[in-house]
Each structure stands twice: as C-alpha cells, then as structure tokens.
C-alpha cells in the first residue's frame, strides 16, 4: 500500500523519465521499493538501460536486480522473448539459484503452461516447504486459471502457517468480496484490524463489508468503524464521511417506529455532512450543489 505523497513522488519521476529528463534508475528503484505494478514503464526504461552497455556496467551488481525487475515487467506485458532473454542471462550468472527458478516458473505461467508451472512449484516446495513466494505463486496460478475455490483453499492453508502475512489476508478478503462471500471477507478484515489496529484502510474496508451485509447491528457496527477511520485519518477520508451518512440514513430507516433510545444521535452525520461540504467547496466547487441535494435525500427525518 502506497501513501499519497509516495504516489505523487513516483508520478513526478515517471513524467520526468518519460520526457527524457533522466532519473530512470531512481524511478526503477522507487517502483521496486514501493512494490507497485507499472510494467509498461519498467519494461521501456529498464530495457533502455540494459541495452546500453555503458549504463549497464555502471550499475555493477545491481545489473542483476534490474534484469529480474525487467523480466517480471516483460512477462506482465506479454513480451515473453524479452523475459526469456533476461532469465537466460540470470541463469548463466546464478546457475543454482532458486530465485531464478521462481522466474522460470513465472515464465511458464505467462505462457499459459499451467501444468508445467504447477509441477515446477510443487517440486520447489518439496525442497523448501516454507518458501512463501512459491506458495503465493500457486495461489496466483489457481486464480489465473479461474479455479477460485482452489485459490481460496491454498490461500487459507497458507495463512494457517503464515498468519502474519497482511497482503495475503487482503488478497483473500478481496477474493471473497468478488464472490459476494461477505461474512468470510469480514473475518479477514477482523484479523487485519487485530494485527494492524492503526491502519485506517482496514477499518474502512471492514465498515464497507458490514454495511453491505446489512441488518441493524451490522449497520451500527459499520458506523463505529467509519468513525474510527475518520479518527485515524484526521477527518480526511471521504469514503468514511460518506459511509457515516449512509449508515445514519439506513439505521434511521430500519429503526422507524422503534423506541427513541435506539435511535442514534444525528450529530455524527451532521458533522460528516459539514466536513464533506467544506471539502467540496474547496476542491470541487462545481459539484457542491449536486452533493448537497444528494445528501439531503439521505437526511434522517426525526
């Protein structure tokens, strides 16, 4: 996950490199550090460095890291010949490397040779059953073939052993959401909130899932998690502000005719509405009238 300032920095560097302003190596390093997926740019600029013998030798041992980075980007862009060449070069330099073996497995995946890739990964895991990367490649392999049930099984088994892998929990949650298995997704976010309680994105996702499941208790819980997101982000997260408005409105509808004690106080919604209107007034004034009338339809009548 990348912060806004990191993304801005990356985009600035990318624009600079695209316009031949230099900084290609810094850009490629930043992409690696932030673990973002920009395969077409990485392929273009990385290959330019690799094909220039002067620039290439200036990298020293970092040449191999770049080779690996370009190989993966090439596979993402379906430039399989480039990928094959990079991997061949790496294999020559590191003849016994498992890391290169993983790239060779990925190349089989990129070619759609599922059975061969599965065989390669299984034999890796026989030698080293705790290789996290290979475990995750197997999940990716199942997903790519459309075997979502297998992917879920593999991922659950993986998480039994490596329960601190947050990326894996998030991936599992997203797979569950895509299948509309909201209760299971909620469980994943609960795990993430337990292990990273100050990460607002987990609170937000959990609230979204609870709202989607519906029912008075879930809506009330969702509202609490939208509130904690607002707390953790200093009121800057618009999705959470909207979420509060939606929850208040939905809770109001569900608890019509019930005792007054069950009704939520409207303060939180009023604060959220005010925050949203202020934000739109500052940064998207053209949309403010639209926002105001849309939010009016969400106001709970007491």
């Amino acid at each position: 996950m990348v912060t806004k300032s990191e993304e801005d920095q990356l985009n600035r560097l990318e624009a600079q490199v695209d316009n031949a302003g230099g900084g290609a190596w810094e850009y490629l390093c930043l992409v690696r550090k932030l673990k973002v997926r920009r395969p077409d740019k990485v392929l273009k600029h990385g290959l330019a460095i690799l094909n220039d013998s002067k620039k290439r030798s200036a990298l020293g041992t970092e040449e191999w890291t770049l080779c690996e980075q370009v190989a993966v980007a090439a596979m993402d862009c379906q430039s399989l010949d480039v990928a094959k060449d990079c991997i061949k070069v790496l294999r020559k330099r590191f003849p016994d490397s498992k890391r290169v073996g993983k790239l060779e497995g990925m190349l089989l995946e990129a070619k759609g040779l599922w059975a061969e890739a599965e065989k390669a990964y299984s034999s890796f895991l026989e030698d080293n059953p705790f290789d996290q990367v290979i475990h995750k490649r197997r999940v990716a392999l199942a997903k790519a073939q459309g075997n979502i049930t297998t992917a879920i099984e593999c991922l659950n088994k993986y998480l039994d052993t490596f329960m601190a892998d947050h990326d894996a929990w998030r991936e599992l949650a997203e797979i569950y959401i895509s299948l509309q298995m909201y209760k299971q997704a909620a469980f994943c976010y609960e795990e993430l909130i337990l292990s990273q309680p100050t990460n607002p994105l987990h609170h937000l996702a959990y609230a979204d899932v609870l709202y989607t499941i519906g029912g008075l208790e879930n809506l009330q819980a969702a509202k609490k998690y939208y509130a904690s997101t607002i707390n953790l982000t200093g009121g800057k997260n618009r999705r959470a502000l909207f979420g509060v408005c939606l929850c208040t409105s939905a809770i109001g509808q569900l608890s019509k005719g019930r005792n007054k004690e069950d009704k939520d106080s409207p303060e939180l919604q009023l604060l959220a509405v005010a925050a949203l209107e202020k934000d739109y007034k500052q940064r998207a004034p053209g949309k403010l009238p639209l926002l105001t009338s849309a939010l009016k339809s969400l106001r709970v009548s007491s």
């Binding site: 459309g146 299948l179 509309q180």
Partner: protein
C-alpha cells in the same frame, strides 16, 4: 413491447469511455453505469452517456450507493435516467456474467425494466486491430421472463450497435495514443474530489 425486440444504441463517447476505463485497469474488474432514455418510438434504448465507476471492491455497497445517488441527481436534471450497467471481468478468458453484475443489473431493472447489462468481450477487443468489425466489443444481456439475465446472441439481428458506425476506428485510435490514462472513475474521484467523474475534457 417487452425487451424481446428492443434495440440498444450506444453513443460513441459512452462506448469509448467504458472500454478505455477497462484498459486503464487491465488487471482488475471494472464497472460503469449507462445513462440514456427510451427512444421516442419506443423501439430502442438510446445510451447517451456512461460513467465509469470502480476498479476495486466492486461487490461492496456503500460506494455504489453514493455514486448512484450523485449520478441520478446529475443526469435526472438532464432528462436522462440510468438505463443499464457495464462490467468487465478481471480475467481475459472469463466470459461469464458474475453475481455482482447480475445483482446490480437487477437493481437497475427495478427502476428501468428495459435495462441492459453489457459485458466486455475481451476476445473481440483483442481482434479490434484487424479493423474489420463494426459491432461493439461488448456482449448484451437482457432480463427474460424468468427473471434471469440472458445473453442476446449477436448473430443475425444486431440488437446492440454503436450510434456512430466508425466508433471502433476512433476507439482504436485512442487505444494507440494511450488515451485510457485520462479516464477518471468514481474510485479516483473519492480519492481526490478534484478529479471529475463526468470526464468533461476526455474527448476534447
């Protein structure tokens, strides 16, 4: 007249916006809303515009509800209503209309019984560069009498067409120039509200 004989005519800008949105997020499922109205003669649904919605967590309700509220508010004042839904699957060879698409389609159907669901046809999209096909790179689904979303076969009657016959030529041109980078969806707007989900300058 039931949806059995209705034609669906999609304006070039709406069509291109949706495909470019899918191309911007090649590794994710994306969706969008179709805006328009029933034709004066009642024999066709005119899709006049489209709003790209999300490229993550398509199955979650809160952001969908907010976006529908704002979209209805805006387009209602322009005499258009929500007439359908567009979906592009995550994987290239996934040609099924999944549960999320069907559920959102059902919701739209309740307000507009002639609603259509369009699913991006990846194979047709790939074959675009052959330059021969004028038909949209999408599959059309309509609700049948048993309340299911049924694929409308594209052989024979062309029930889904682009209003401008050169739409695919223009689309191909935009694809080559990387125009998809400029598409703004609702996800982008929620992250940065200065980004406009109406995409007013996209085709300028």
């Amino acid at each position: 007249m039931g949806s059995g004989e209705l034609r669906y005519e999609i304006a070039q800008n709406a069509y291109i916006k949706l495909v470019l949105h899918a191309l911007k997020h090649k590794t994710a499922a994306v969706n969008g809303i179709l805006l328009g109205r029933l034709s004066d003669r009642g024999d066709a649904v005119e899709v006049l515009d489209a709003v790209p919605l999300f490229h993550s967590h398509l199955g979650l309700l809160p952001n969908l509800e907010i976006s529908l509220l704002l979209i209805e508010e805006y387009y209602g004042s322009k005499g258009m209503s929500i007439v359908g839904y567009f979906h592009a699957n995550e994987r290239y060879d996934d040609t099924e209309l999944g549960g999320i698409a069907r559920n959102i389609g059902d919701h739209i159907f309740r307000y507009f019984p002639q609603a259509a669901v369009l699913l991006l046809d990846n194979k047709k999209l790939e074959a675009l560069s052959n330059g021969k096909d004028r038909s949209p790179v999408m599959q059309l689904y309509t609700r049948d009498s048993s309340k299911n979303w049924k694929l409308v076969s594209s052989d024979g009657s062309n029930r889904l067409i682009t209003k401008e016959p050169t739409a695919n030529v223009v689309l191909l041109d935009y694809m080559t120039s990387g125009k998809w980078q400029n598409v703004v969806d609702f996800d982008d707007h929620l992250d940065d509200i200065s980004k406009d989900w109406l995409n007013p300058d996209l085709f300028k």
